[in-house]
């Protein structure tokens, strides 16, 4: 079973795995940054009173949340060229991850804003603060702390989701495993190594998420 697990092949392909890992890091960091920006924008539109931007934001969030990421990736991968837009696969992939996580992050931020009690907003109104000032000084300082643990949770999801980009031939971690499988036909070596690297990223992010959650509970108790 595992007796003939071939460590030498893994060592031989280690540069490929590390290049894949670096690519996964790069894709994840860029995508989560863009997704947070998208999420903030979508959330701002979603909670605004102006219908012209509120309903498109709702449509965006609900469509993304009720269709699979893989379908969204294929939609962009096969769809952009028919519009005459030809970009490298990695950019298509980052765009897909950005749009996908952006919708979830919009909902995370909205939940954070909703977690601030209405009484505080009323207090802000009666202190003579306008909408922007209320957001800036009352709602956001409290709401942002609440959003940190679920945002890290979303980062974990995004790192794992980036594995799907291997299916549109982006050279990331999972793709390295596929390459080893097709070169040597050694799927155990290939995919257990890939899984190991993902586990490392997962445990780091999980520890960070748990830590931020504890800090938050402590602050609330205080």
């Amino acid at each position: 079973m595992l007796a003939d697990f071939n460590l030498r092949v893994i060592l031989e392909y280690l540069p490929l795995f590390l290049a894949g890992l670096r690519s996964t890091f790069f894709i994840s960091i860029v995508s989560i940054g863009l997704a947070i920006a998208t999420g903030i924008l979508a959330c701002a539109c979603r909670i605004s009173g102006i219908r012209l931007i509120k309903y498109p934001a709702i449509a965006y969030i609900e469509i993304i949340r009720s269709t699979p990421l893989l379908v969204q990736i294929y939609f962009l991968y096969f769809g952009l060229p028919t519009l005459g837009i030809r970009v490298p696969e990695i950019q298509t992939g980052i765009l897909a991850l950005m749009l996908n996580s952006g919708a979830y992050i919009a909902e995370i931020i909205r939940a954070g804003i909703n977690s601030v009690e209405p009484g505080q907003i009323e207090a802000g109104v009666s202190s003579g603060l306008n909408y922007v000032q209320r957001m800036r000084f009352i709602i956001l300082p409290q709401a942002l702390g609440v959003t940190v643990p679920p945002l890290l949770g979303q980062a974990i999801v995004l790192v794992k989701d980036s594995a799907l980009l291997s299916l549109i031939s982006v050279a990331e971690l999972t793709r390295a495993g596929q390459t080893l499988t097709s070169d040597r036909f050694m799927p155990s070596e290939a995919f257990f190594t890939v899984a190991f690297f993902y586990m490392c990223i997962y445990f780091c992010l999980k520890a960070l998420a748990d830590w931020s959650q504890r800090k938050l509970i402590f602050r609330e108790a205080y």
Binding site: E62, F78, D161, T181, V194, Y198
Partner: protein, 218 residues
């Protein structure tokens, strides 16, 4: 040209319905097995047997720490090496069951741990045995905490069935992928695929939102 392709797409629409049927079949079977397995694992995870707890903990960490597509590859490519030959469809169901049960296990364990210890003690001092305590006292209360994220997890599981297309199961995403080779209108083909997914998962999202609000009021 677009109009021509649109007509072709209408022509082969039954093909998409077949894919939708396959997706529904995989989703339904795996929702049932995942829920059953998830509840069993979740109950043991919040139990007292330390060894069992650890084993389930490792299993959950492995499943949650790796991408589903890697798990599908492991099951489909590596089990044959160990002498277990599986066709694509059962391999897909196995992968879904392993992945989904780990996530549901965590939801169930979280729900059970939200019940104060006093409830267990009160139930025990009323002369109920462990199974009766769970059945009549703990689970009915924990269900309020479990239900909203459970339905949310169902939506995620339905969407994750798209990933098993990589091992050649002819479900909705695979149908789209095969079609786009012949009808090179990616936007049109995958809008259709997306719309069909929307039809099955959006009602569940609404249900999840409703449950969340209802449980929050209680």
């Amino acid at each position: 040209m677009t109009a021509f392709y649109f007509e072709r797409l209408v022509e082969i629409f039954p093909f998409f319905l077949k894919g939708l049927w396959m997706t529904s079949k995989i989703a339904f079977i795996s929702l049932v097995t995942c829920t059953l397995l998830g509840f069993i694992l979740g109950i043991f995870r919040s139990g007292k047997n330390m060894i069992l707890k650890r084993i389930i903990g490792v299993y959950v960490a492995f499943v949650r720490g790796t991408p589903f597509v890697v798990q599908v590859f492991i099951i489909f490519f590596i089990l044959p090496e160990w002498g277990l030959q599986l066709k694509a469809f059962p391999a897909a169901l196995l992968a879904m069951a392993i992945m989904g049960s780990a996530f549901i296990c965590e939801i169930v364990a979280g729900g059970i741990s939200s019940i104060p210890k006093g409830q267990w003690e009160a139930a025990a001092s009323s002369g109920l045995n462990l199974t009766q305590q769970l059945r009549w006292v703990i689970l009915p209360q924990a269900m309020k905490v479990i239900l909203p994220p459970l339905v949310g997890q169902f939506v995620l599981l339905i969407k994750d069935t798209s990933v098993v297309s990589v091992i050649g199961v002819m479900e909705l995403t695979r149908v789209g992928w095969v079609t786009v080779v012949r009808i090179p209108e990616g936007l049109m083909v995958f809008s259709l695929v997306g719309a069909l997914y929307f039809v099955i998962s959006y009602p569940l999202i609404l249900l999840s939102n409703y449950l969340e609000q209802k449980m929050a009021v209680n």
